[in-house]
């Protein structure tokens, strides 16, 4: 009986799935066009899956093995099942292979079941809770129905009742695994995920046969010249089709939620929920069936959307609240963790672009900062002619006078900030000690545009960028060095699209090189315990984790690492304009970060970013000192003859010198 039943079952499920798949594809195609090389993407997909995606998943060994067994077993079993039971090709090795595949899948699904017994908070519940059972139903039923095919059981074992039961169980399994895949069940992730890998908007992220993928973190420029297009994303259909596809790939594993600083701070953002809301939006409906952690303090079930309805309501509620979008620090921790390679930050900035450019609704101090940038080319609204006041006594070589230098020192808007001026002065002391040929732009420098861009003001960003590029094009230099990772990122990764291609180094990278070249000499470190905070825009955005640590090592410092460090570093809360939009939460992100510092027992946290310095220093109840790497290096420099001040307690005046 099964012989008759199984092909019918299998092919009708496949047919239904095909219908579902077409419907799903049509949902994605509501999005704006995006130029993707479809064939090449499909060809690259297996590699992207097996290498790049696996690289992320493999950070959790158990889960990785579980997935290999379950997914690998399923893919093999599904194909073999069609051959064996659909076309009746049971002879030879195929049946045995099918047995092996379904057995493997069954073992995998046991592990899935185990994880679902006591799932961590980040995992969504709902339909996902039945998935292990479905996996077992599928693998077990396939296994059993295949036993007769290889002769381990008689062809007519059991009764017709058993056959019906088996068929029913298989139908359940097939329903979940194949029908559900195309019609929006948990298994949708396999279908959408595979295509997302193939048609990803940042193909350069992925490895190729030639080598590893590149970090692709720069935001993509918005075409401001198209008068008909909405600026940014107002409604789900304003995303590009492959972004919509990407949202659909989400497995709701909540790794993003677990690392999101805004979520941890109790601000109304949860990256996973945001992606799910976009999924709701593209199909239309409400978020009532979402079964994961909500946005803190925002109950589920009150928001709804449609593909062509606004994501953020001008008044009242739509798909998400504006505060959700403005809570993001653009730290990229979610993107870094996402096993499905979803680009949350791109999506958030796309939606911010609409709010800022079309509605002028940048909250908090956002509008003021943007006005300042427009009027004065710096976010603080300071007199552009005052940019170099801090360096009046340093006689810095100006590009406008010397025309060329080995290094163009990009100062950043920290030039207006007394705290950062200390870092800059320290850095200049270091450059001079190493005899570096450098020059600055002086009053010709403008804000890099980082904040404007993250706040969605692409127009101001592009205006600043184009003028900076025009200035830079007047001079000759080998590379740009900056102590500001935000400038570093923008100059290095985002100006290219607008015609400015530069070699940019963070000062820690440059100092590490100077040290390796024997151009700097350090006194041994005599201070206490030190930890290092990876700035997001240096680490995750630009992959520079080693140079700062190498510099600290050269100073004789053994870094007491925080649990969240390196690519998993926790944001200081200062990125993406978050301190400007200032969405309230239950606690402050920098407080949590200084808590991380405290856990290491460090007396000092070394940083390499003016923003991080400001945020971490702003934490009131912390004893740990916050110092930029440049300051530590400047303090340790051995220069010329030591001072001959007599007296045992007066050999060093640590603070005064570099501040003056």
């Amino acid at each position: 009986m099964l012989d008759t039943l199984l092909p019918i079952l299998i092919f009708s499920v496949l047919a239904l799935a095909a219908v579902g798949a077409v419907r799903r594809v049509r949902l994605w195609r509501q999005g704006r066009p995006a130029r993707v090389d479809l064939l090449r993407g499909l060809a690259a997909m297996p590699r992207r899956y097996l290498v790049d995606l696996h690289h992320v998943v493999a950070r959790d060994k158990v889960m990785s093995n579980t997935h290999v067994a379950t997914a690998g077993g399923f893919v093999a079993a599904a194909v073999l099942m069609v051959l064996v039971h659909g076309f009746g090709l049971a002879e030879g090795v195929l049946g045995w292979l099918l047995l092996a595949a379904s057995a493997t899948m069954f073992v995998g699904s046991l592990f899935v079941a185990r994880r679902r017994r006591n799932p961590p908070a980040r995992l969504s519940r709902g339909p996902w809770m039945r998935l292990p059972k479905s996996l077992m139903a599928f693998s077990l039923s396939v296994f059993v129905i295949t036993l007769p095919a290889v002769g381990l059981l008689p062809e007519d074992f059991g009764s017709w009742i058993l056959a019906l039961v088996l068929a029913a169980v298989l139908a359940w399994g097939l329903g979940e695994m194949v029908f559900g895949m195309a019609w929006g069940g948990p298994m949708k992730h396999a279908f959408a995920g595979a295509l997302h890998l193939a048609f990803h908007r940042r193909a350069e992220r992925f490895s190729t046969k030639e080598g590893e993928g590149k970090r692709s973190t720069g935001l993509k420029a918005l075409n401001l010249d198209d008068e008909n297009a909405t600026l940014g994303v107002e409604k789900p259909a304003d995303f590009t089709w492959n972004q919509l596809l990407g949202f659909d790939a989400c497995v709701q594993c909540g790794r993003c939620e677990a690392v999101c600083p805004a979520f941890a701070a109790g601000q109304p953002l949860n990256p996973k929920k945001l992606i799910q809301d976009m999924v709701v939006g593209m199909a239309g409906g409400s978020d009532a069936r979402y079964a994961g952690s909500p946005y803190p303090d925002r109950p589920v079930g009150e928001h709804h959307g449609s593909p062509h309805g606004p994501i953020v309501a001008r008044e009242g509620k739509a798909l998400v609240d504006a505060e959700t979008l403005w809570s993001c620090t653009t730290c990229r921790a979610c993107v870094e963790e996402c096993p499905m390679m979803i680009e949350h930050v791109d999506a958030i900035v796309d939606m911010r672009r609409f709010l800022t450019l079309e509605h002028g609704q940048t909250p908090g101090k956002g509008a003021e900062v943007l006005d300042n940038l427009i009027a004065t080319d710096n976010p603080g609204g300071f007199d552009p002619g005052a940019r170099m006041h801090w360096a009046a006594d340093l006689e810095l070589p100006l590009m406008s006078q010397c025309g060329q230098a080995e290094v163009l020192l990009w100062l950043g808007d920290g030039a207006y900030d007394m705290r950062n001026q200390r870092t800059l002065r320290a850095l200049i002391k270091v450059l001079r000690a190493a005899g570096v040929d450098f020059a600055v732009l002086g009053d010709e420098e403008r804000d890099s545009g980082d904040v404007a861009r993250r706040l969605g003001d692409e127009a101001t960003f592009q205006s600043l960028a184009r003028r900076n590029i025009a200035t830079l094009s007047k001079y000759r230099f080998e590379r740009i060095v900056t102590c500001d990772p935000h400038s570093f990122h923008v100059l290095g990764n985002e100006y290219g699209e607008l015609g400015g291609d530069y070699a940019v180094s963070h000062h820690s990278t440059f100092i590490a090189e100077l040290y390796d070249a024997g151009r700097l000499d350090f006194r041994a470190w005599k201070g206490g315990r030190v930890t290092y905070h990876d700035p997001c825009y240096l680490g995750r955005y630009n992959g520079e984790f080693e140079a700062p640590r190498n510099v600290l090592k050269a100073l004789g410092i053994e870094v007491a690492e925080m649990q969240r460090s390196g690519f998993r570093s926790r944001c200081c809360g200062g990125g993406g304009g978050a301190p400007i939009t200032d969405v309230p939460g239950k606690q402050r992100i920098p407080d949590m970060r200084m808590g991380d510092v405290q856990e290491t027992g460090a007396d000092l946290v070394a940083v390499g970013c003016p923003q991080c310095t400001a945020m971490l220093e702003g934490v009131v109840d912390s004893d740990a000192e916050v110092r930029d790497i440049a300051e530590l290096v400047a303090d340790a420099l051995v220069e010329g003859a030591p001072s001959s001040t007599p007296g045992p307690a007066s050999t060093r005046q640590p603070l005064a010198e570099e501040v003056a």
């Binding site: 001026q421 007296g647 307690a649 005064a656 003056a660």
Partner: protein
């Protein structure tokens, strides 16, 4: 950006000054070896430059000619090429830290002393005696004038060759140049006196000669007065005319403006306004000069607070602010602003200990910062954490010495407990601050309160420490700074009794602290002649008492410094306080409801009586030694301070010796009564090596 007006660079001549804050010219009394800028001098200015000061104008009243004596005030001597290499050291030290340095050059004319060294004939336009220095002088001759004009040019050359950034011609404080300007002292009828142009001639010749010598690429400024405050002197309008006249030459790169002349004791007090003055009392005079000149104007006088300085600059009243005493109190003032540690700035309180020492020919020191001008000895402005053992330090007494000891020990990283019997810190500073116009001295305590809190010192206020409490804490080091009490029991005839109901006399502390009601008719007997006697007189008169203050010394208040006694006298005379001299307090007895004070003339022995209702005696402080002698036998070092180590600014040897038992030190008035600076200096030099 906070304080951005202050941190806006400015161009003076061809020179860029990194911010708007100046340490203006003042006599440091540090130039040794015949007026050379030697190590102490260099380190003093290097510290300011390191601390961020934009421009230092050093060498107040540095002389250009040998008949303007420098030795009395150890001022800088630019009359010889010998100074040039010393200037190079000075310039390098300041430039190294991004600062700029100029020097004031002058001929002081009659404003000096002749009775020593080369026994010069002082010179002045019309030979009129100067009252503050009691100096007579000759009427200057044409030959002297041209010699001195040439000396100015040579001095400027030496400054330039020494690498300094400029010179400031002093035409303030009644030096020779403004002696020519002022009709009060210039009575000449030749081309050097009479008409405006004639009175201006000497200054103009100096300016021309200097500019010709140094060329355009060197700053030449002029320090002038804003108003001499004498009816027969130069008025503000006169000074505006003078400033505009020199400014029109285009040869002057900046003007420094000081309100008030200073050839009398009373006007002198205006020049360096003490704590009785309001903030920036003479800013309007500098602003008036700024109205008529095209070049930057600097003004200093009671500008001590960064917010105040920024407000003045934002208002555009002047271009640069002088924060000179502010830098004496805290040479790292600018650094602390930039470090966002404005609360950590040790702010000048206007005690004028610095300038009052200077007028006595003593080196300039700060009442509250013992490291200032002792940088060359290795006295630290920033205390480093010890690399040696962490000690448990108990400090007893929260007066200036005890507060400094606690601060320094805590900065060294030790665990510090500070006992103070009173409910608040401050010791005698708290008492001193009760007098009218003296409240600002409490700023000394305020800074310590903030610092001790920041450093986490365990402060046991309202707790009188005894032997047992101290030993309970098992201290490694005990520092006693228990001070003393008024010494009223010296003469039995005064009728002092520990029981206030029986005592015929009370102390100035009783009065100022409000422990006794002010009498209606009060005799104050002040044998000390420092602050407390006149403070008590001012306080009582302020409360409506009729007060006579009597001393056996020269005059009440005569040991109060030169810039401070005038403001006391203004207040006391206005309140009709009678000041009597040369009378000792022989005896006090009660007669009915009244008290009779028998006074005896110091020189004739004649006695006279005063019938009053309150007799206040100021006879100094008697050290409180009880706790010291209780602890002394139990201490490892028997309470002794190694004087050789102390004076050489070296660690006390006992600190590094092994042994059981605590180390005991005492400092401040509980050893012998000296002053605030002495207590703080002892605490710093002793504790900096704990």
């Amino acid at each position: 950006m906070a304080f951005d007006a202050m941190f806006q660079p400015i161009q003076i001549g061809n020179l860029t000054i990194r911010n708007r804050v100046v340490s203006t010219a003042h006599a440091e009394v540090h130039a040794t070896d015949g007026g050379m800028t030697t190590e102490r001098y260099v380190k003093y200015y290097e510290e300011k430059a390191k601390g961020g000061c934009g421009l230092c104008i050093c060498g107040g009243s540095s002389i250009v000619s040998i008949d303007s004596p420098q030795a009395w005030w150890s001022s800088v001597n630019l009359s010889t090429d010998r100074i040039i290499p010393h200037f190079q050291n000075l310039a390098d030290a300041v430039h190294k830290h991004g600062g700029k340095i100029m020097i004031q050059i002058t001929h002081m004319g009659r404003r000096s002393r002749w009775d020593g060294f080369d026994w010069p004939n002082l010179v002045s336009p019309s030979g009129i005696r100067e009252p503050v220095h009691r100096s007579t002088c000759k009427t200057i001759e044409e030959e002297d004038i041209w010699r001195i004009v040439g000396d100015f040019a040579q001095a400027a050359r030496r400054a330039k060759e020494g690498g300094l950034d400029g010179v400031e011609l002093s035409a303030v404080h009644q030096h020779l140049m403004d002696q020519f300007w002022s009709p009060r002292v210039n009575k000449r009828t030749d081309q050097w006196g009479g008409s405006f142009e004639n009175r201006m001639r000497f200054g103009m010749e100096v300016l021309k000669a200097v500019r010709e010598e140094v060329g355009d690429d060197f700053v030449v400024g002029m320090r002038i007065c804003g108003d001499e405050f004498h009816p027969d002197g130069l008025s503000h309008e006169d000074m505006k005319q003078i400033a505009a006249y020199y400014d029109a030459t285009g040869q002057v790169d900046f003007f420094g403006v000081v309100g008030s002349g200073c050839d009398t004791h009373d006007t002198l007090a205006n020049v360096i306004p003490n704590m009785s003055y309001p903030p920036e009392p003479f800013l309007h005079l500098a602003a008036g000069i700024k109205e008529v000149v095209k070049v930057p104007v600097i003004h200093a006088q009671n500008i001590k607070d960064p917010n105040q300085a920024n407000r003045i600059l934002e208002g555009g009243h002047v271009d640069l602010v002088g924060m000179t005493r502010a830098h004496i109190a805290d040479p790292h003032l600018i650094t602390k602003i930039k470090m966002d540690q404005v609360d950590r700035i040790k702010q000048c309180v206007g005690a004028n200990y610095c300038i009052d020492r200077q007028y006595q020919g003593l080196d300039v020191l700060c009442i509250q910062n013992a490291a200032t001008s002792r940088e060359y000895l290795g006295m630290p402005h920033e205390i480093e954490v010890t690399e040696g053992p962490k000690r448990r330090v108990v400090v007893v007494g929260g007066g200036p010495g005890g507060m400094e000891a606690a601060r320094v020990a805590a900065e060294r990283g030790h665990e510090v407990t500070l006992f103070e019997a009173a409910e608040q810190l401050g010791g005698q500073i708290t008492i001193a601050a009760k007098a009218p116009q003296r409240d600002q001295i409490a700023g000394i305590t305020r800074w310590y309160q903030l610092e001790l809190a920041r450093l986490g010192v365990d402060q046991r206020l309202g707790t009188r420490a005894d032997e047992a409490t101290i030993l309970d804490l098992r201290p490694d080091v005990v520092v006693l700074a228990t001070g003393g009490r008024p010494f009223l029991e010296q003469h039995e005839e005064w009728g002092y009794d520990e029981d206030p109901d029986k005592s015929l006399v009370v102390s100035t502390w009783d009065v100022l602290e409000g422990r006794v009601e002010p009498g209606k008719n009060v005799l104050i007997y002040d044998t000390i002649c420092e602050f407390s006697g006149v403070s008590a007189a001012d306080y009582l008169a302020d409360k409506g008492a009729k007060v006579e203050i009597v001393t056996d010394d020269i005059k009440p208040g005569s040991a109060v410094g030169g810039t401070t006694f005038p403001t006391y006298y203004r207040s006391l005379y206005e309140k009709e306080v009678i000041m009597s001299s040369d009378l000792g307090l022989h005896k006090v007895y009660r007669e009915g409801e009244s008290l009779v004070a028998v006074l005896e003339n110091e020189y004739t022995g004649a006695q006279e009586e005063r019938v009053v209702d309150q007799v206040v005696v100021e006879n100094g402080v008697r050290p409180d030694e009880a706790l010291y002698y209780a602890l002394k036998p139990q201490s490892r070092n028997k309470g002794q301070v190694d004087l050789e180590a102390l004076y050489a600014i070296q660690p006390q040897p006992c600190l590094s010796e092994e042994g059981d038992g605590l180390l005991l030190f005492r400092l401040g008035d509980c050893t012998s009564p000296r002053n605030t600076h002495a207590a703080i200096y002892d605490a710093l030099r002793l504790c900096k090596d704990f």
